[in-house]
């Protein structure tokens, strides 16, 4: 049993093999991968994948006009130019999109980043795409890109990994462990959705930097009924509530575990690779990206960008990220 799958217009579906074995044991039976394509049908394919909260809808296009998760980077004339490239995105296995994922109260096997990469290979097989022109992955998407380039380097001509490490660092895992603990506590007490919102609020503080939060929310607190309330709380609560509208606790736990278990042998990444890391990223510190760069056999470039947006710089630093993408795709 799995979460409901309701495909909106423009969403496509790939049926994975009847039994899809998973890297850490067990298997998915009859699983599906929801995906979306935009751009000319026969143009070179660029796979674009983001963090765990990103999905198949990368940016607005004629068939799906609503905003995507990476507006401003992908579209006609933009860094990933959809008049020249066909962009392919998919919903994560185990996540909140329309791919196979746990439903409310349901257990689900462990989905590793290798599994997402192998699911992508199945999708490429189904679409008769032997090799993609590029894989552009940010955060979790970058982890999956590294796995793909290690598992099947011949399927990717070039890899752009943004804010993505070989393995999660201890500090990031610690923060996520607390988030999972909050969610599991909530589940045990019948408050899974509220706990998920709280965990997401905590996560937001790890995506950004002290500098940005101080600048945006450094104002004075308010006092009422013997309680103190800080300006940042409205933002945190809104972001947490928004997240909990779309996600089930089980889905968050699935992908949160997947991030923390991620580990790729950089020496096996057999694809020309471009790396982008951000100064101020608390989840994937520059030191980790440097370590990855040193271990990659086919590193083409490693770019560092200082940003007050921390890990979320891949969503916010339009100029720097666009320049990086143009360099990769040139």
């Amino acid at each position: 049993m799995s979460a409901l799958i309701t495909l909106p217009p423009g969403a496509l579906l790939c049926h994975l093999p009847a039994r899809f074995p998973l890297a850490r044991g067990k298997a998915l039976e009859g699983a599906v991968l929801a995906f979306e394509r935009q751009g000319p049908a026969h143009a070179p394919v660029v796979v674009v994948l983001g963090g765990i909260s990103a999905g198949r809808h990368v940016s607005a296009h004629a068939a799906v006009p609503g905003p995507g998760w990476w507006e401003g980077f992908v579209g006609p004339g933009l860094a990933i130019d959809t008049s020249r490239y066909q962009v392919l995105g998919f919903d994560w296995l185990g996540g909140c999109g329309n791919s196979t994922a746990p439903g409310a109260g349901e257990s689900f096997p462990f989905v590793a980043t290798e599994d997402q990469a192998r699911a992508l290979c199945c999708l490429l097989d189904a679409l008769a795409i032997d090799r993609v022109h590029a894989f552009v992955g940010s955060s979790y998407g970058g982890m999956v890109g590294l796995q793909l380039a290690a598992l099947a380097p011949s399927r990717v001509q070039r890899l752009a990994a943004i804010a993505a490490p070989q393995r999660s660092c201890a500090q990031a895992s610690a923060w996520r462990a607390v988030q999972r603990g909050i969610v599991e506590l909530g589940q045990r007490h019948g408050a899974g959705a509220e706990a998920l919102a709280l965990a997401r609020a905590l996560a937001m503080t790890t995506y950004r930097t002290p500098v940005e939060l101080q600048r945006r929310f450094g104002g004075a607190p308010s006092f009422a009924n013997d309680r103190v309330r800080f300006p940042v709380q409205d933002w945190l609560e809104a972001r947490g509530a928004r997240f909990a509208e779309d996600w089930l606790p089980e889905q968050f736990l699935c992908l949160c575990n997947s991030i923390d278990a991620h580990e790729v042998n950089a020496a096996r990444v057999g694809t020309p690779t471009w790396l982008l890391g951000f100064g101020g990223d608390q989840l994937v510190p520059l030191s980790q990206v440097r370590e990855l760069a040193a271990a990659l056999p086919q590193l083409r470039a490693f770019r560092e960008v200082a940003s007050c947006y921390g890990h979320d710089a891949f969503l916010k630093e339009h100029r720097a990220v666009s320049a990086f993408l143009r360099e990769v795709l040139s």
Partner: protein, 335 residues
Amino acid sequence: MACTPQPRTVHLIGPGQVGRAFLRRAVALPVSVVAISDSTATVFDNRGLDVEAVLAHKAGQPLASWPRAEAIPTELAIAVVGADVVVDATPTDARGTAAAVERGRAALRNGAFLGLCAKNALAVAAPEWLLGSNRGRVGIDAVLGGTGHKLVRELDELRRDCRGLCLVGNVTTTVIVQAIERGASVEQGIEEARARGLLEADPTCDFDGSDAATKLVAVWGAVFGECGRPLPAAGEVFREDVRRLDAQLLQARARRGATTRLVARGSATGNDLRVQFEELAAGSPLAAPPDRVVYGYELEHGLRVHTGLAVGYERTAEALLNDVAMAAAGKAVRP
């Protein structure tokens, strides 16, 4: 909601391939098989049957020749045995539809949970069995290729919001189509399906679209039907015959990256039910591989997709077993 007692005893009707596969698996459940019926007789022991012995006997001769077999009508046997679960694993046979419906009714009258395998009875009695007082008492996962649990679980929502159905429920034609897409003729495609064990002794129902039409009517009855109102007749659904496929057309579609499937469609009106071979783009949710079925429910905000792997008698038996296991655990799927 009334508390349903946990079933303990099982009466299997139809010890054919699916029935035997079901019985082999049923040993893993906390149930006792107390009766087995074929078309000739019922073998019954309320302390539990020696299933292997009965099946060994059945392999060579009808159950009527089993010592102490009761050669009574199956509906009567259902009442006499009084099992908690009646599993009807008889194959679909249009001529036997009325009898299959009566068997199901007898089981439900007797207070049993009914595990269904054949679609023909459901295509007549879907509203009666899935709505009203029988809700949660009929397992249809095997009938619908492993998608029945999902349909029952979401039935309230689908009855409220669904506008139309689109089903790819006939695996045999999918295998034939894929063979043609690889360059085979229609006849060679049929032979491939036969070689893979997908054809019944009389495969007419697969070939002429009757199988897909019957499933369409069954699902239509669940989603759009009303108790007491007859369902559209499966025999009157417009159908295309796989034997009349244009192999060159299918191959041309495949070269363009598209594919073809036998798609059964219909809206709430019920006057537009049809089973046709359709061109499907790459990425269509209906472009199911030959190991599964896809049942689509058109909602205002998109297509609800149910996929099922209960294809072939082993997996069909697994789906039956799941229905019975849930009933045995007191967790029969309810809307």
